[in-house]
């Protein structure tokens, strides 16, 4: 069982990468992926080498206002980072991210008003883009905003099941107080509509993506040996 979590470190979160690694190790994670939007500004990334017993990978989160910016940012970052997570806040960016095989995970924004479209889901399947489910609104929101968010997630899960998309569960933690243990996350995912086996597979997926990205891919399905 190797569960991984995607999170944000100082200065975008309030905890350093090493503190998050210590907290994640204490909670039972085997690895974390630090996904800052500006990874070069991460506070003391070298300190994580002192935290033993947990894998720490440095990925990147891409926030782009339009598809053109998204494409240029991804082509710039793909060779430099083993994990690219796109945080998409508009339909155009979601569609562009689904059509780009360089994207590892697409996480629709919390405030998204509509679920994923069928065209986007088909494109994501074709380009092997995983869909990320950020469960932090389940923790932060209460009342009508949370029920609206749960409805959108339920429809996204149905779509992901229909098109057999890979899924990832994350809390996008910015501090050790936002982190939840893998079993707690699975319980929360079941509330959001996941099956227990899906939730387990979703927590393991980042490790598989990191291992795949270490290999030398020329294009989708073509590897240079």
């Amino acid at each position: 069982m190797s569960f991984y979590e995607c999170l944000k470190a100082l200065p975008e979160g309030s905890d350093s990468a090493s503190r998050l690694a210590l907290a994640a190790k204490h909670l039972g994670y085997q690895g974390i992926v630090v996904c800052n939007a500006e990874p070069e500004k991460t506070f003391w990334p070298r300190a994580v080498s002192n935290v033993k017993g947990i894998d720490v990978a440095f990925g990147v989160q891409v926030n782009a206002a339009n598809p053109r910016l998204l494409k240029s940012r991804i082509s710039f970052l793909r060779g430099r980072f083993p994990f690219i997570l796109v945080h998409a806040s508009s339909d155009e960016v979601i569609r562009a991210a689904c059509e780009d095989p360089s994207v590892d995970v697409l996480v629709p924004a919390d405030e998204a008003r509509y679920p994923l479209g069928i065209a986007s889901a088909k494109a994501a399947k074709q380009n092997q883009v995983a869909v990320g489910f950020n469960l932090s609104p389940l923790i932060r929101f209460r009342g009508s905003s949370r029920s609206r968010w749960l409805d959108i997630q339920r429809r996204n899960i149905e779509l992901a099941r229909k098109f057999d998309l890979s899924m990832i569960i994350t809390t996008n933690a910015r501090s050790h107080l936002d982190l939840r243990s893998p079993r707690d996350l699975m319980a929360m995912a079941e509330v959001a509509g996941f099956e227990p086996s899906e939730a387990r597979a979703a927590l393991k997926l980042p490790e598989r993506l990191l291992a795949l990205n270490k290999r030398n891919w020329l294009g989708p399905g073509v590897e240079l040996l």
């Binding site: 100082l10 309030s14 506070f43 994580v48 002192n50 009342g143 936002d178 707690d184 929360m188 509330v191």
Partner: protein, 179 residues
């Protein structure tokens, strides 16, 4: 006289949990927040089927009683706690057991008191500076001079480790007198 037949007795589970918070949390505030989270997530009907009772809580570790059929729901309710009386906190389940005795023996070690008072030591680095609030092992909570550092997460303190301050040397940690 027994009030119920043994087969009708509700089966219970005891969940040992740990509260990670920025300040001291009281039991009455915690159980209020747990009930509020449960009702908010599962409604009155769900809360009626799974009556939660706080058995013990010492400020950090506690024991919660729930129905044996609703353990996952209780985990989700505990995990959905964001703050307790305005104090940022997180509840982590340590384990589940069938009796209070075994839950206490397995999951609740002897209490070690953690002080949340500032000891007056400061950290002055190029990137961050502030007062040390709390040190536990390698973990350090720092009250930053610039509040913008904790803006995104609603937390009051920055979470650092002694590794961040050592600058690659095991014997120097960036503080005035060492940790």
């Amino acid at each position: 006289m027994r009030s119920k037949l043994p087969v009708l007795r509700p089966r219970r589970r005891y969940i040992a949990f740990e509260v990670d918070s920025e300040e001291t949390v009281f039991a009455r505030d915690l159980i209020g927040e747990i009930h509020s989270a449960q009702v908010s997530l599962f409604g009155d009907k769900g809360a009626a089927q799974n009556r939660l009772k706080l058995i013990t809580f010492d400020g950090r570790l506690g024991l919660l009683r729930c129905s044996h059929a609703h353990i996952q729901e209780t985990r989700a309710a505990l995990a959905s706690i964001y703050s307790i009386c305005g104090i940022r906190a997180a509840c982590h389940v340590k384990g589940v057991s069938g009796t209070i005795k075994s839950a206490t023996e397995k999951y609740i070690p002897k209490l070690c008191k953690i002080s949340l008072e500032s000891d007056g030591r400061r950290i002055e680095l190029e990137e961050v500076s502030g007062c040390i609030i709390h040190i536990h092992g390698h973990e350090i909570d720092l009250c930053p001079d610039d509040r913008n550092w904790t803006k995104g997460s609603d937390a009051r303190y920055l979470g650092l480790t002694s590794f961040d301050l050592s600058g690659g040397h095991d014997d120097a940690d960036g503080t005035a007198d060492g940790l």
